[in-house]
Symmetry: D2
Subunit: 350 residues, 4 copies
Amino acid sequence: MLIVMKPDASQSDIERVVQVIERLGFKGHPMPGESRTAIGITGNRGSVDPTHFENLPGVAEAIRVTKPYKLISSDLKPGRSVVKVGTASIGGGSLAMIAGPCAVETAEQVFAAAEAVAASGAKFFRGGAFKPRTSPYAFQGKGEDGLKILAEVRDRFGLNIVTEAMDEHGIDLVEKYGDCIQIGARNMQNFSLLKYAGKASKPVLLKRGLSATLDEFLLAAEYIMAEGNYNVILCERGIRTFADHARNTMDLSIVPAVRRLSHLPIIIDPSHGTGHNYMVEPLALAGTAVGADGLIIEVHPCPEEALCDGAQALTTDQFSKLYSKVRQVHSVIAAQNDTEVLHQSLEQIA
Amino acid sequence: MLIVMKPDASQSDIERVVQVIERLGFKGHPMPGESRTAIGITGNRGSVDPTHFENLPGVAEAIRVTKPYKLISSDLKPGRSVVKVGTASIGGGSLAMIAGPCAVETAEQVFAAAEAVAASGAKFFRGGAFKPRTSPYAFQGKGEDGLKILAEVRDRFGLNIVTEAMDEHGIDLVEKYGDCIQIGARNMQNFSLLKYAGKASKPVLLKRGLSATLDEFLLAAEYIMAEGNYNVILCERGIRTFADHARNTMDLSIVPAVRRLSHLPIIIDPSHGTGHNYMVEPLALAGTAVGADGLIIEVHPCPEEALCDGAQALTTDQFSKLYSKVRQVHSVIAAQNDTEVLHQSLEQIA
Amino acid sequence: MLIVMKPDASQSDIERVVQVIERLGFKGHPMPGESRTAIGITGNRGSVDPTHFENLPGVAEAIRVTKPYKLISSDLKPGRSVVKVGTASIGGGSLAMIAGPCAVETAEQVFAAAEAVAASGAKFFRGGAFKPRTSPYAFQGKGEDGLKILAEVRDRFGLNIVTEAMDEHGIDLVEKYGDCIQIGARNMQNFSLLKYAGKASKPVLLKRGLSATLDEFLLAAEYIMAEGNYNVILCERGIRTFADHARNTMDLSIVPAVRRLSHLPIIIDPSHGTGHNYMVEPLALAGTAVGADGLIIEVHPCPEEALCDGAQALTTDQFSKLYSKVRQVHSVIAAQNDTEVLHQSLEQIA
Amino acid sequence: MLIVMKPDASQSDIERVVQVIERLGFKGHPMPGESRTAIGITGNRGSVDPTHFENLPGVAEAIRVTKPYKLISSDLKPGRSVVKVGTASIGGGSLAMIAGPCAVETAEQVFAAAEAVAASGAKFFRGGAFKPRTSPYAFQGKGEDGLKILAEVRDRFGLNIVTEAMDEHGIDLVEKYGDCIQIGARNMQNFSLLKYAGKASKPVLLKRGLSATLDEFLLAAEYIMAEGNYNVILCERGIRTFADHARNTMDLSIVPAVRRLSHLPIIIDPSHGTGHNYMVEPLALAGTAVGADGLIIEVHPCPEEALCDGAQALTTDQFSKLYSKVRQVHSVIAAQNDTEVLHQSLEQIA
């Protein structure tokens, strides 16, 4: 159930509704929108009687929800969320650029990459200290030492740190050293981890599972939000299909599909999504044109020496060219969207 | 085997090489490139002795080919082919726009769509007279009567006609009335049909099969070319995967993958590729940004009355907005490519 | 629409109903069942008025059908069809064994395989004279000469010949020389070919397409039957998935799924379904246990010399061991089914 | 690297080798086989010099391993492992039957199911106390209370308990109350959880991920074994494909594929693998015929009241019929294998 508040409802009206929800044994999730606040109810099995709420001060409407998701839904929060990550934000019309090496290997490698990323104007740095590897005998990441290097990147270069956590201890450490907790594709339905991330104070970048449907993807975000962490960024990183010319098949149609149902921002990972250096730029341009809120790109000062996924990493030079190109495409797309919004407003006035 | 001729080889040198190939019982396929001609040999099982050719006048090199394809290959013809379709062409840096209804239903419907397509500046018109339908009881198209309507579209509106053939008789009719023979996804490995299309005088638009790998797709084109019809345009129209938010999953990474191996142009079909009206524009923009040579878009003057695939057809108004947007993105991409080509030339000079 | 006749309806009652159907411009398909005949109507767009039929002599009921298929449906013909192929039959509780080489290469090779197949007690022989090959440069089959060799196999060894046709001319030739027309996976939605096969006098073995859903598979059979050829045998030969340990993924759950909806027999092809010699026997046993009506198995007197698909062909020795094992499993399954039918009858009596 | 010991190597020879391995900074995994012990080395990056081992007493051979897996491999341990689960075992020619409800709901429901399962002669009971659910608002299981009910099942009915854990705390609890830790499909690449399970004292039933390749599946088992827990049972539970007639596509060819590479037992889950009650029996029979070491089947005393996955659960009556049928098929398959082993032995003697 959603409780939609009137535009002029006061903060204490909202708190009152949440108290009533809690007295019924459920959980209330106030989501402030541009013109009004909606309050999602979770924790209920079966339907909740709307008469508990309809006559409370400030309440405009109590709406039954039949879809399996609530908090991710545009019904709860029309428009598009902007998620704060450190000193910058993702969503809301701008194009976020997150770049850096697949794995943190050495301080030198990381600083070389970070210097190039910062110089390009990007605001976010990626790099894995915990690496989910198919084989137990492959390089598993540098752990907390790696996170300390990343924290130094923030201090030196002013970049906001996005880095993966694979378990509860990892989430605690990323909260300590980083700015955004990445949940990888293989953990998209690790529901215990999602719940734990839902209690964290830092935003979560949630990657789509290799064979996750749209519903499963959105409900994984719902797991995080149901625990109270509403700062979720979705990420398409390619799905598993029969096609063998790329490591994964990038499913760009998920961007308009997410947009239709959810207020959450969604970004694109053309590096993991293709697995091939020469495909990263065309797919980054395509992801920008399809309307994504950002890109996450692997950059390595020396790709042929990378301990993991070197085949797909861009050189710092390739990266700066790519970023300049996607900015050009994004400015065209952004201008088109602005014109459209303007026309819609004029139509409403007319 | 490929015979690469010297830049200054004469036409009679080339003919001489083809005669030698034919005397050995094989087939020679001369492919003129920008600076030189290469001649593909097909019809051989096992390898051909290069000494037959190496000392002929005008021959630069005889190269053994280990890849399964020859005629589609950039090894045979570097650069990118431009395919003439009626009075216009596809490939070579421009963005071809092919638009029209899924099926030819009535003259009125077709002319209304054609008027809007012509007014938008597009040069190609699509519309099916033979419809491959999953059920034998669904509308199967108007056949030759439909083709006559399409021929009238060409006369009235100056549009070049792209339309599907499902069997040999259909190819004969499309050759008579249309400008480009479309082979549908379900027939991509109908090898008898491919061979027959290879003997046709009109170019072929070959759609990727629902579960075709890159190799299978290119080899289907090779089937057509091996019979002597070198005018093949590839088309990505979505693949079948587990994902259920779109009718098919558009695999845009096939564009750079084709580009890397083949000189053939490749276009994108976001209408069949997504199956949803609201996804067509974002995927058309993405297909343009990824570097496709064109788009094929369903437009219907009255989508809700369409006899097939109405859910994905754009209104004429939506279409003209879409076309204006993709042109903006294409001009950015084209300018980027021109700059890149210029830089590469300067590097070669320096 | 289905017209269900009374158990005591006469042949002339049935003919009368068909006449009425034809006078309405549609096509009537009488399907005799064990206790009564049902008549399917095809060719109608939209619904047919049941009052045309309800008062005709011998008519029990006129039933509206909302499913996309009619003739394949158990609603039309309860129980399970038995299809006559030459001197033997497929369906109805027995286990048909179709064996032989992938391709007809030489008379010696074919006769050696046929001798072993006949000696094992199998009644059907397979072997391709027309081979659908991914590459235009791969061995394409021996054509009519190959069919003549197969016809000789029938004369010498008394085996019934199942062989593929890829186009209309091929169907004519298979009708002349063979006993059953195979339509391959890549042609499952070659609708023109399906319609042509629907006019043939020989039964059709229809292989499931690489990415065909159950509905698409059944509707492809419906295409053949709608033209009047009711002798269709379905064949599961593996689907295309991400899994890479076998050439295709055998989808055995399609057997109970088909059984639930259709009266048509369905067989299993573990040779193409797996692509590996060592997997053929376990999957043949599994296919038998899941309830298939038969198996189609590649046997080659000398697999390592096979011109196509040698990796999956069994030696004649492996084949005879396999056949003996599947017969043991089949006799257990058949006895279980008999017991079940008996129990159900007793329950009905009680 | 594998160190293969001589048949007459003593226990102290083996310990000596392990000491040398540990002195080099690696981990040694002795795996006793029927006639000899092999010792796997893990923890090394890059190759290990074989001369460290070749001259030690009792060493027959030091073999370089290029495959990505070691401990699961038949190279390390020829033959087939038998895994002890409580008072019974899985693997080695017998057919293990694990049955019970999807989720533990109430003591009454569980005891009713357990009574039927025990009466059928099965030795293992399944039932989830922690349920991985796509939606955060769906029933998540009864947790420790559920585990206590399961522990009572063991006491009352003598059944060994197989139950899922979703996180480290869950593994601790399953170790306390159950006999076998199930890792679900969605956690197959939750590498932190796999490592933790590798330190547990109870055997692990590892379900294949929805889109896991054979290699990924085996390497997930390798993660567990690399931590010292060698008691791993694999489970095929259907993969995600485009096919829509069943909830998942059962990939039975993985059974012979696993058998070829690994000594680990593998069982089949036709309940989750199909999602439909009417498919469970045919696929259980097929799984038995393909050579699986066991089955895991959902049984519910009252399927229409089940809180999760009721559509696929068998009634206790259906289950006892199924078990009787699969036993018949298994006895045929087992006899065939025995004959084969006998023949192979006779050939070796001859």
